[in-house]
């Protein structure tokens, strides 16, 4: 494992960059996914159509295509930002479709009578969703949402492959192709780096799942 230990500082840098991609994408895709899910269950037909369009587009387009569009297509439209920005943006857009569907499944698992009772008290759509439906949807949402998010954590490596310099994936790339290290030990190190993120995240999800389950 000497390639890993010799380049530990490079690995730490890569780990931190991956973590930054993941944290920004996590916040972005949860917020955007929630908005898209709200659109999909909205009583306003144009919003529903928009939500459906969004999910259909980003769920059915390969992540690499979304990333190419963001990183190389948007600059052609005159939008100039860093590759880091475009990488995170692409990952957010792509993942938001899956987040939205996980949340929508949770919303649909709440009995219709709950929303009817809220509406009959005079609560509007957003209050009904926020105070009555979503808190109850959370319970069923945690496991599928967890899978979507962990997939997103791993997809951050694809963002790295798209030229976001210095994340875990590119650390492995640099060590093997530019500096001539052997692939196997280098990428075992990379894999361990990702496991250091995904395994605690999985454990945290289990804790959350137990927490929200008690509330019933």
């Amino acid at each position: 494992m000497s390639p890993v230990l010799d380049n530990l500082d490079l690995y730490v840098d890569g780990f931190l960059t991956s973590l930054r991609i993941i944290v920004y994408s996590l916040i972005g895709c949860l917020l955007l996914g929630l908005i898209i899910a709200a659109c999909r269950v909205s009583p306003v037909p144009p919003l529903r159509a928009f939500g459906t369009f969004w999910v259909t587009t980003f769920r059915n387009t390969p992540l690499t295509v979304v990333l190419v569009f963001c990183a190389f297509g948007l600059p052609e439209l005159g939008i100039n930002r860093s590759f880091f920005f475009f990488g995170v943006l692409g990952l957010i857009l792509y993942t938001s479709a899956f987040v939205a569907e996980a949340i929508r499944a949770g919303i649909n698992s709440v009995p219709a009578g709950q929303a009817e009772a809220a509406r009959s008290l005079g609560l509007g759509f957003s209050l009904t969703l926020r105070d009555v439906v979503l808190p109850q949807a959370l319970r069923t949402v945690v496991p599928p949402l967890g899978s979507v998010l962990i997939a997103m954590f791993k997809n951050s490596a694809v963002v790295g492959a798209f030229g976001v310099g210095g994340d875990l994936w590119s650390t492995g790339q640099i060590l093997t192709s530019a500096r001539g290290y052997e692939t196997l030990p280098v990428f075992i190190g990379v894999a361990i780096g990702y496991l250091l993120i995904t395994l605690p995240a999985g454990a945290l999800l289990q804790v959350i799942e137990r927490k929200v389950a008690i509330a019933r």
């Binding site: 709950q114 009959s120 008290l121 005079g122 209050l127 109850q136």
Partner: protein
């Protein structure tokens, strides 16, 4: 209060039509309910009585006709509809208490979020109402910890907390064990005595006789007969009502 002190009925349906696909669930329904009146709607399953009840606060939209509550035409979706619904209390067959909130939180949600009352004020009023329906000592429990009868009484308190102009009861005792039916009917009877305007869909003929000012009999989406309880139960005019009553009153 009677219609004499108002210009208009509190709830007024005129020429209401609704279809579920080919099924004509509400056909030419005209009904006017005055303030303080207790109207019991009875009829066989599928007669449209639940749909009628749910149409009054637009949980079921209608396709033709007009529904007015306190003179105001029922708005389409949006803020105006939410405002109107706040004035129309609704009690459901399956209680529909918010499962993730305590009994007290169930009763205060509407007053705090919709009427913008302070939490302290809403709590105080909620506890009064819970005492009134006899579940004051259950305030901090969750709905799942209560019996069906207790849950339905909480649901009534939740609706009353909004100070509604009219209360709609959609088969409030149909999901209850027999020994719990009376505790709910007693609360409803006392509400009726206090002058609450009520529309009650029920199979409880005893309640209809005791508390109703008027019994409306529905069949096939139509109002077939409308009379005071004494007249309806002793001298029904339509064959359909006679047939219905002969089936339910013999045992």
């Amino acid at each position: 209060m009677t219609s004499a002190t108002r210009q208009h009925p509190l709830v007024e349906l005129s020429g209401v039509q609704k279809w579920f696909g080919d099924l004509h669930v509400l056909a030419d329904v005209d009904l006017a309910i005055d303030a303080g009146e207790v109207v019991v709607v009875i009829g066989p399953s599928g007669s449209g009585k639940s749909t009628l009840c749910r149409a009054i606060n637009r949980l079921e939209p209608i396709q033709q006709g007009e529904i007015r509550v306190d003179g105001e035409l029922l708005p389409e979706e949006g803020k105006a509809l939410a405002r109107l619904r706040a004035d129309v209390g609704m009690v459901f067959q399956n209680f529909n208490l918010f499962a993730h909130k305590t009994v007290l939180q169930n009763v205060t949600l509407g007053p705090v979020k919709v009427r913008h009352r302070s939490k302290g004020e809403a709590d105080k009023r909620a506890r009064e109402l819970l005492d009134r329906v006899g579940v004051g000592n259950q305030a901090d429990k969750y709905p799942a910890q209560l019996s069906g009868g207790q849950q339905q009484r909480v649901a009534i308190a939740r609706a009353l907390a909004m100070d509604p102009k009219v209360m709609l009861f959609d088969e409030p005792t149909s999901a209850l064990d027999p020994e719990m039916i009376n505790e709910v009917l007693d609360v409803m009877t006392s509400l009726a005595r206090d002058g609450m305007t009520m529309v009650v869909i029920t199979h409880e003929m005893g309640f209809a006789r005791r508390a109703a000012n008027r019994v409306v009999f529905m069949d096939g989406g139509r109002i077939v007969e409308s009379a005071d309880p004494e007249t309806f139960f002793t001298r029904p005019t339509s064959d359909r009502a006679k047939d219905f009553l002969s089936k339910i009153l013999t045992h």
